[in-house]
């Protein structure tokens, strides 16, 4: 039978250990696989290879492969540890064998970790009640069925209990590149956009230099240098494109960025080193290093200005340092837009998609894209935001359909109705599987 002409797959046959299919000659993913060749690993049992470089991912992969795909008899027949009497106080898991890469890393760090504290609390070993015939208590009567017996334990909602995470659920927090708190105030956004564009122009010129100490666009914080960066004069270039009035300004801005990046880079390294010393147990050295760093102005655990500290009043003051000419300039260079969008993402939390960036052609467009709030998803939200309807005394706006139950609740009759229905053992909601009169059907009624 004919099927959709799809790419012939070698990858699909990779893990079907039961039917090891030889790879076909046409290999559409050869580029992918070639890239993966150096970092790929192979599971001996199921001939599965992957291009994941992180070692820890393979651990889970191997487990699940043996459990799920190779249908290991052990995992299928062994019952899961069912009941826990009490959570283990401190679960210390012995480290599995280290890979070469891990060993090398550890050696570089100057210590080898043998034990590891896990942030997850596991249920203890299940305890079994002794057999009825072994109980000597004459009053003991074994129950004939489980009905009415008290239930203890169970692991079905083990991970929904906060006490089972030693880090208080921190492991579930998503931390991305973008700022955690989204800035929506247009007064702040205007200043931030100007800074991002100035830095974008500087990054376009100097950012791709391999001699830079770090990825400067990514590492620089959002803290200082507002005045010096933002007050740089911008204008329309010869071709109408956004440019700085003086070329020397670009250099100055770049130096500011370099310094900020250096500071952020060293703060990161210093924090990591102090943390490492503490883990090893060399607290004296760690404290010494901590004090030294603090003297130099580093702040432990935080990169240089990871949050925008700009206040609205400051933004208004900064806004006075430029006129509106720059808004008419075009920005068609995708590289400048890329860097500016990256800085905006880091500073404001706004992720500007490629589709949006393509449609942005001027500074004014950019401003609009940033300031315009997202379209409300529900009609009710839209009415709430942009309509006079909610303010009218004779109009009420509800986010959903007003049901008969809602109407009863509004007049305070619902509880009474509920009570009376329950008293008569009638269904509170719905018809309780009672259908229509069957006679209606016989009569050929359409009702």
């Amino acid at each position: 039978m004919r099927r959709i002409p799809r790419i012939p797959s070698t990858a699909s046959a990779l893990c079907s250990s039961s039917s090891p299919v030889a790879s076909t000659s046409a290999v559409p993913l050869r580029t992918l696989r070639a890239q993966a060749a150096d970092s790929s690993s192979a599971c001996q049992s199921c001939n599965f290879s992957t291009q994941i470089s992180a070692t820890h991912n393979r651990v889970w992969q191997n487990i699940l492969q043996t459990q799920r795909r190779c249908a290991s008899t052990v995992s299928e027949t062994t019952p899961d540890a069912p009941v826990a009497a009490a959570a283990a106080a401190a679960e210390i898991a012995t480290e599995p064998a280290l890979t070469l890469e891990q060993q090398r890393k550890r050696r570089r760090g100057g210590f080898v970790e043998t034990q590891r504290t896990i942030n997850l609390v596991l249920p203890g070993e299940p305890t079994k009640a002794s057999a009825p015939e072994k109980i000597r208590d004459p009053n003991y009567e074994p129950a004939a069925s489980g009905a009415g017996l008290q239930e203890i334990g169970g692991i079905s909602d083990w991970w929904n209990k906060p006490e089972n995470f030693r880090d208080g659920g921190k492991q579930f927090e998503y931390q991305g590149f973008a700022a955690q708190e989204k800035i929506t105030d247009p007064r702040l956004l205007k200043v931030i956009l100007r800074r991002a564009l100035v830095e974008g122009l500087a990054l376009k010129k100097f950012g791709a230099n391999p001699q830079n100490p770090a990825d400067i666009a990514a590492i620089i914080g959002n803290g200082d240098h507002w005045q010096r960066t933002v007050s740089v004069e911008m204008c329309r270039g010869e071709d109408g494109e956004l440019a700085l009035k003086k070329d020397s300004d670009l250099q100055k801005v770049w130096i500011l960025m370099r310094n900020a990046a250096d500071k952020a880079h060293y703060t990161r390294e210093w924090t990591a080193e102090v943390g490492r010393l503490r883990r090893v147990g060399e607290h004296e050295q760690a404290n010494q290093l901590l004090q030294e760093g603090k003297k130099l102005g580093y702040r432990f655990g935080s990169e240089e200005g990871s949050r925008v500290k700009l206040k609205v009043e400051e933004a208004i003051e900064l806004r006075k340092s430029w006129n509106n000419d720059w808004k008419e300039a075009t920005i068609r260079d995708p590289i400048v837009k890329f860097y500016a969008a990256k800085r905006i993402q880091k500073m404001t939390g706004h992720l500007l998609s490629d589709g949006k960036l393509t449609s942005i052609q001027t500074v004014a467009n950019f401003m609009d894209a940033l300031v315009t709030p997202p379209k409300p998803k529900k009609l009710a939200e839209q009415i709430e935001q942009n309509s006079i309807l909610p303010e009218l005394p004779n109009v009420k706006v509800y986010p959903r359909r007003v049901t008969p139950v809602d109407k009863e609740k509004m007049v305070g009759r619902w509880k009474v109705i509920q009570k009376e229905l329950q008293k008569r053992e009638l269904p509170v909601l719905g018809t309780g599987n009672v259908g229509k009169y069957v006679e209606l059907k016989w009569l050929g009624s359409k009702q």
Binding site: I7, T50, Y174, S353, T358
Partner: protein
């Protein structure tokens, strides 16, 4: 009467002549459009009104002949440039899961910025649906139903209605007269149309900001603690699955990509264990597909598409039959627009 009829015919023929239709003076009308498009302030000479284009000449979009000053004027007016003016579109490659913009690539507008053609998408989805139909329905005819073919009762004299064999379609338990038989439901679609649909679907996602391209090696970064425990065999299957389900839920909620945001489709070059098993367990949050397994309908479903850089490249490369040709003219072959030209390389530190 005859004379009158001939007269009216003559009048009708006159009315059809070109001279009597001033509004059809195409050259004049065309040039007026061009002149109105020209920038008022521009000193550039207007492009010659080339209205008699030969079929052998390649079609040039109207905007591409315009001067940069003209483009500038449009842009300054704050208008979004039209479809014709965009020849290349940028694609940001993000790291995953941090979503840090790492590098920038340029794709042709014919790859990722095509106009939305719902009709073509519809054709493709129907074509795929037809091809995917198993067509296994099968019923037995009277000749396939088991049993004796003996006449059930005598033709006459019993007082009953006439009855032939037990397998007769009139009998209960008999065969089906015109029942379904296994068949192929697949329909045909020109490859160039199907490939255009594929890129139209990608373009649609791109324009809406729902196409997120990541660096190669897309996988779920499950926490170390969990992986240590799972690696050491300390977790039962139930605990392990429940943890992964919760983790994927929280992770997708943090990204705002989960169930509330319409789910997410992840596309990778080959199977990634954590990603695929993760979404097998937490299917409400999204789905993971290998490149070979993707079709146009998949690209149109769910809230967004997250795809690896090389998978996207491979996907477009395999679906550009309308842009490339296998026929070489004077030793040269049309290879189509360049795929993923790097504008900003990912920094390595």
């Amino acid at each position: 009467m005859a004379g009158k009829g001939l007269k009216s015919l003559n009048e009708a023929m006159k009315a059809l002549s070109i001279a009597s239709q001033p509004c059809r003076a195409l050259p004049m009308r065309q040039s007026s459009i061009l002149s109105s498009r020209r920038s008022m302030a521009s000193v550039a000479t207007p492009p010659a009104a080339n209205i008699t284009r030969s079929v052998s000449e390649p079609w040039q979009p109207s905007m591409s002949t315009n001067t940069t000053a003209n483009l500038d004027n449009i842009a300054r007016a704050g208008k979004v440039l039209t479809q014709d003016s965009v020849t290349n579109v940028p694609v940001t490659v993000y790291s995953f899961p941090e979503l840090e913009p790492r590098s920038l690539e340029s794709y042709s507008a014919r790859h990722l910025h095509l106009p939305l053609r719902r009709d073509i998408l519809h054709l493709a989805v129907i074509y795929e649906g037809d091809s995917t139909r198993l067509g296994m329905a099968s019923s037995k005819t009277r000749y396939e139903v088991h049993g004796s073919h003996k006449k059930m009762i005598a033709q006459k004299g019993t007082g009953h209605a006439r009855r032939g064999t037990k397998q007769s379609p009139l009998q209960k338990g008999g065969g089906k007269s015109f029942g379904p038989k296994p068949r192929d439901f697949s329909t045909k679609l020109n490859k160039k149309v199907y490939d255009l649909a594929w890129r139209t679907a990608l373009s649609y996602r791109y324009k809406r900001g729902e196409l997120i391209v990541t660096e190669d090696g897309l996988d779920l970064p499950l926490p170390d603690d969990f992986l240590w425990l799972a690696g050491g065999g300390k977790l039962s299957r139930e605990l392990e699955d429940a943890y992964v389900r919760k983790w994927v839920h929280e992770f997708m909620t943090g990204l705002n990509w989960g169930k509330e945001a319409g789910r997410t489709t992840f596309i990778t070059g080959d199977k990634r264990p954590n990603l695929f098993t993760g979404f097998e367990l937490a299917g409400a949050e999204g789905r993971a597909l290998e490149l070979w397994d993707v079709d146009v309908k998949d690209l149109l479903e769910t809230g967004r598409i997250v795809i690896e850089r090389s998978a996207l490249k491979e996907m477009i490369k395999d679906h550009q039959s309308d842009l490339v040709t296998r026929v070489a003219v004077q030793g040269l072959r049309q290879k189509g627009p360049k795929l993923g030209e790097v504008l900003v390389r990912a920094p390595r530190y």
